[in-house]
Symmetry: C2
């Protein structure tokens, strides 16, 4: 139906936010709003300006017959800092300490709004890389992986520590957990990744990196490529890290069960940005 500018702004904004990383032909909007292409272009220029101003991301236009407009989710450094600080603060709460020096983090990952912001953070961090699929391992990485994938507009595949009958044939590997040195198994459904895909690994926690190294092995079993690694929290005190090129949001420097104290620092997120 024919819309005025203010109405088009509402719908265009909503539509772009719901279709990240998709090239949408301008003709789609010309039809949708029964408006001239030049008006749509002006609308998009306004949206572009405000998205950049508020740090929601970029609007890129590709000229020509096969062209269109694409929304690439982003985040301002200020907002990224706020999210990371909130995460650090929440993680430092001493009531999280569980027997054995483990940390209770289930509630943090339980909040969709925070998870969604974290997803936007990782998605903007990896926005310039070619990514076809996000990989994680059950269970806690799943919400984070979906949040990242929804901002990248790619599917998620979930590696499991057991293979289920409802997955069909699976590829499984043995790997050595970096911190406990135990041999473990992980499996992924044969149909889930195409050869040559570019895979982004997302997980909630990394200690020595054994689990992530296992996922990297799975990726090569599928003849796919590693496109990047993002972890929510990394442990600092690791004698030998098995993985070195990754983005982390928080770094756990100490869990002192006796003194009931947790020390958390921001991860390496900003380091690649020259800070």
């Amino acid at each position: 139906m024919k819309l005025k500018r203010s109405g088009r702004m509402v719908d265009l904004t909503t539509y772009l936010l719901q279709h990240p990383h998709q090239l949408i032909p301008l003709s789609y909007f010309v039809e949708r709003y029964e408006s001239a292409k030049s008006s749509i272009s002006e609308d998009l220029a306004i949206i572009k300006e405000h998205f950049e101003q508020y740090g929601y991301g970029k609007i890129t236009t590709v000229p020509g017959a096969a062209g269109g407009v694409r929304y690439v989710p982003g985040i301002s450094d200020k907002e990224a800092e706020q999210i990371i600080n909130e995460l650090v603060q929440q993680l430092e709460d001493p009531s999280r300490i569980l027997p054995g020096g483990y940390l209770y983090v289930t509630d943090i990952i339980g909040h969709p709004h925070l998870v969604n912001q974290i997803g936007r953070l990782f998605a903007s961090s990896f926005a310039s890389r070619k990514i076809d699929v996000v990989m994680t391992i059950a269970t806690k990485g799943i919400p984070l992986a979906y949040a990242v994938a929804s901002h990248l507009n790619v599917p998620v595949v979930i590696v499991r520590s057991n293979s289920r009958v409802t997955e069909g044939s699976t590829v499984s590997i043995n790997y050595v957990s970096g911190s406990t040195k135990r041999i473990q198994t992980m499996a992924l459904a044969r149909r889930s990744i195409k050869q040559g895909s570019n895979v982004l690994i997302i997980d909630d926690f990394m200690k020595a990196g054994g689990t992530i190294k296992g996922m990297i092995s799975i990726i090569s079993e599928f003849q796919a490529n590693l496109a990047g690694i993002g972890v929510l929290v990394e442990a600092q005190e690791v004698s030998e890290r098995l993985v070195d090129d990754y983005v982390s949001l928080a770094r756990l420097s100490e869990v002192n069960e006796r003194e009931n104290r947790i020390e958390v620092r921001p991860g390496n997120y900003f380091q690649g940005k020259g800070e």
Copy 2:
């Protein structure tokens, strides 16, 4: 910073979409845009009109000093029908049949865009109920539960079939799987639900309903209340269903392994709406 109407429309729309089911005081936007309250009210009226027109949901305003504006995600019947039809069509693909008559559905749940739409569908279906938390059971229900929860702005809790040390103390129950009649265990972290909470159960598949009945038992163990049940796919051929008040999107009427045929129908989603 001071913004013109078209700029305010872009940011207001984005802000509301990112903060569903939250009452936001108008004064917040008055400050954010350095604009008069009357202008903000006019902006919101335009957004309200277009959100309703395109079936994105409702904008409600609460007058008075403690008032504000709230976005309640919704979906048009037309869009709901499209999503359900797409789901049915995808499920009917015979290459999904696995040995033993199981179905491969991992790829459907792997697409964040579809999962997100399904989440909006369930969220709008339960929008009028008081919901404090969404509950699911690992693993396949997790993405759906997060999608629903993000549109309801409530946290997610994940019931597990094993209890993990990083969850702290857990409450566990035994339940009988309705179809296999085996006794199984499920567990939930003690800290995850407050007494008196209203809990929406979301799961990917329901056969006889034993697993969901188990989750209902867990809810009463926590002295919380069941607020609703949503399942993506239900099996039709069940002699005795253990659960009766639920919303389903698709109904699996037959998996014929010999003839390589799957029959799927829309679920009961539209039945409560007088269709």
